[in-house]
C-alpha cells in the first residue's frame, strides 16, 4: 500500500512539474482536428496577444476522449464533437466557460447554438468551431457510367440493394461511426434518427444487412484519399472530408470529379466545439484563444481555408461568396429543417448501438 502511494506521489509530482513548467510560460496548448485551421489565425493570435500557441492535432474523437478520460492531458483548448462533449461533461472533464472573458460571444449564430443545446448544456461549456453534415460523397463519372439516373440525392444510394449493388465493383466505403451510421439507417426507413429506444435502434441492423456485401470497408478516414484517387466511387462521409477529396482530385487533375450531397431524407448535423478541460494549466489564455476564434475576420479566414461552415453569424459577410451560397456547406433553411442531431446514449444503449454496429460491420 505504501509503495503504491509512493509511486502515485512520484507520478503526481512529475505531472505537477510538467504542468507548472508550462504554466509559467505564456502559452496556450490547443488540441484540434488535423487540417482544420488556417495557420494565419494562430500567428495573428500570437502577434495580437503575445501568447504562444502550441498546436497539436488528432484525427478521431475517440483518441481525444481517451486522453481526456485518463486525466492530466495538459491541454487548454480541445475540440470534441458535440455528442462526445456531452458525455465528457457528464464525466466532469470540462470547466464552465467564463462568459465575462468572451466579449465576442454575441457574434455567434443562434441557429447553431439552439441545435447544440439539443445535446445538453453544451453552450455553458463550449462555443462552436465548425459544423457540418454527414452525407454521401461520390465519383460523378463512375456513378453516371453505371447508373445514369442514379438517385444521388437520396439515401437509396446506400440502402437500396438494387441501387448500391450497381456500384459495388467501383468500391464503396462507409464511415466506421456507429452513433452516426445507425441513425442514418433509421432515417432511411422513416424512423426517428434521434431515438434512444434500443428496440428501434436494433432495426438499423436489418437496413444495413442486405447492403453489407457491397461495402468494401468500414473506415472513417481512408475514404478521403480513396475517393480523390478514384479507388472508390461511393461513400458515406463528413461534408468537409468529401470537400477535401474534391479539392485534392481537382488539384491532381486526374479526371476524378467528386460531389457531396445532403440526402433528402435528412442528415446528421454535427458540431465541433471549443472547450476547456478542468485541469487546463492556462485557463485564462484558453479563454483568450476562444474569444479570438469568435472574431468574425479570424473564423472567416479559417472557414475560407477549410471549407467548413462555422457557427459565427457575423463572419458570414466575410466568407467567399460561392462558399456561403453552396448548399452543401451552408444548407438552405428548408434543408436545415430536415437535419437532425444525434442523441447521447446512456452506457447500456451505447453498448446496444456499438454491438449492433459490430454485427453489421463484421457479420458476427
Amino acid at each position: 500500500m505504501k509503495k503504491i502511494t509512493r509511486v502515485a506521489l512520484i507520478a503526481s509530482t512529475m505531472t505537477f512539474a510538467f504542468n507548472s513548467a508550462f504554466a509559467n510560460e505564456n502559452v496556450v496548448n490547443v488540441y484540434n482536428w488535423s487540417d482544420y485551421i488556417d495557420e494565419k489565425v494562430l500567428s495573428d493570435f500570437t502577434e495580437a496577444t503575445g501568447i504562444k500557441v502550441v498546436y497539436d492535432t488528432f484525427d478521431s474523437n475517440e483518441i481525444l476522449e481517451a486522453k481526456l478520460l485518463a486525466g492530466g492531458s495538459g491541454y487548454d483548448v480541445v475540440v470534441p464533437s458535440a455528442s462526445f462533449l456531452a458525455r465528457q461533461i457528464q464525466a466532469g472533464v470540462f470547466q464552465k466557460l467564463d462568459k465575462s472573458k468572451l466579449n465576442n460571444i454575441g457574434n455567434m449564430w443562434d441557429v447553431v447554438e439552439k441545435r447544440v443545446d439539443g445535446y445538453g448544456p453544451l453552450n455553458d461549456y463550449s462555443v462552436n468551431w465548425m459544423w457540418g453534415t454527414t452525407g454521401i460523397g461520390y465519383n460523378i463519372g463512375k456513378i453516371n457510367d453505371r447508373m445514369p439516373n442514379a438517385p444521388t440525392g437520396s439515401l437509396a444510394m446506400i440502402f437500396d440493394p438494387n441501387v448500391v449493388s450497381k456500384f459495388a465493383d467501383c468500391g464503396i466505403h462507409v464511415l466506421n461511426a456507429p452513433t452516426e451510421m445507425i441513425p442514418m439507417a433509421l432515417s432511411y426507413i422513416g424512423e426517428d434518427p434521434a431515438t434512444t429506444d434500443p428496440e428501434v435502434l436494433k432495426k438499423a441492423e436489418a437496413v444495413w444487412a442486405p447492403v453489407r456485401q457491397y461495402i468494401q470497408k468500414f473506415h472513417s478516414s481512408q475514404y478521403i484519399d480513396a475517393l480523390a484517387n478514384g479507388d472508390i466511387c461511393l461513400t458515406t462521409g463528413w461534408s468537409g472530408d468529401v470537400f477535401m477529396a474534391q479539392y485534392a482530385a481537382a488539384e491532381a487533375n486526374n479526371g476524378v470529379e467528386i460531389a457531396y450531397t445532403v440526402p433528402q431524407e435528412g442528415a446528421l448535423m454535427w458540431f465541433d466545439q471549443l472547450a476547456i478541460p478542468k485541469d487546463a494549466p492556462h485557463a485564462d489564455n484558453a479563454h483568450k484563444f476562444i474569444n479570438w476564434t469568435m472574431v468574425p475576420e479570424q473564423i472567416a479566414t479559417a472557414t475560407n481555408y477549410v471549407w467548413y461552415a462555422n457557427g459565427n453569424l457575423a463572419s458570414q459577410p466575410l466568407l467567399e461568396p460561392d462558399l456561403l451560397s453552396d448548399p452543401s456547406v451552408y444548407p438552405t433553411p428548408e434543408v436545415l429543417e430536415t437535419l437532425y442531431t444525434s442523441p447521447t446514449y446512456n452506457a447500456k444503449t451505447q453498448r446496444t448501438v456499438t454491438r449492433t454496429w459490430t454485427k453489421i460491420t463484421t457479420g458476427q
Binding site: M1, L68, A91, Q216, D231, Q350, T358, Q364
Partner: protein
Amino acid sequence: MKNNMLSKYIFNGRNAVIAVPYLWLLILFLFPFLIVLKISFAEPIIAIPPFSSFFHWDGSFWPTIQASFYNYVFILEDSLYLNAYLSSLKIALISTLITLVIGYAIAYSITKAPTRWKGLLLLMVILPFWTSFLIRVYAWIGILKTEGLLNLMLLSLGITDQPLTIMNTNLAVYIGIVYSYLPFMILPIYANIEKMDGSLIEAAADLGCRPFKTFWKITIPLSIPGILAGCFLVFIPAVGEFVIPDLLGGTETLMIGKVLWIEFFSNRDWPLASAVAVILLAMLILPIMYYQKSQEKAIS
C-alpha cells in the same frame, strides 16, 4: 556477520546482471499488466478515469476490494470474442508459416553468399526499419489497390485483363503481416545457421548423403532454435496486430486487436477492453512457456 552476507548477496555481480532484465520486466511488463488486470475487474462509469475503483478505504487499515468477473463472463457469452480470438490466431498462424518459408530461404541464402556480400545483404534486411512502420504499411495501399502499382503492372503485361481485388481483403492483411515481420524471422534463423558446425554437413556428404537430404536431416533440425525464435517473434505480435488489418483489411477481416479498439474507444468500456487484453495474454503465455521450456532443454 549477517549484514555482511546480505551485502555480498546484493552486490554479487551475477545477481546484479540478472537483476537488470528482471527489473526491466517488472517496471515495463508486470506493473502495467497488474494495472490492466485491476481495471478488468472494474465496472465502466462516466467519470475520470472511466471505471470504478478497485480499492475502497472505509476508515480501516486494509482497503476492501471491489472486483467483478462480469467482464469475463460477458466475453465468454458473446461468440464475437471467441470468433475474433480464433480468427486472429488463424491469421497469425498462416502468416507465421508463410514468413517462415520465405524467411528461411532468405536467411539460408545469405549464409551461403560470399563473405563480402553478407554485410550488405543483412543491411538490406534491416534497411526497411529506417522508414516508419506506418508509412511502409501505407505504401502497400498504393501497391495493392485496384488502380495501384501491382494491378497496373499486371494489366500492362497482359497477365490479367481485370484488376485484382486484393486491397481490403484478408489476402492484403497476410501480405502486410508477412512483409512487416519478415526481418524478425530472417535474423534469428540467419544467426543460427551462420554459427552451425559446417563439419557435420561435410561428414554427411562424406558418408554419401545427397545435398537435399543433408539439408532436411542435418541443417533443418539443427536450426530449430532459430526457427522457433523467429516464429515466436512473428506469431505473438501478429495475433494482436491492429494497424495492418485496419489499413489493409476489409469487411471480412476480424481480429481481436480491432475488437479491443472498439471496446476501448467506441464503447468507452475500459474494463471490458482490459479483460479482452488479459485473456489474449493468457492465450499467448502458453506457447511462450513452451518455448521457454524447449530453450532450457536446448541449453542443458
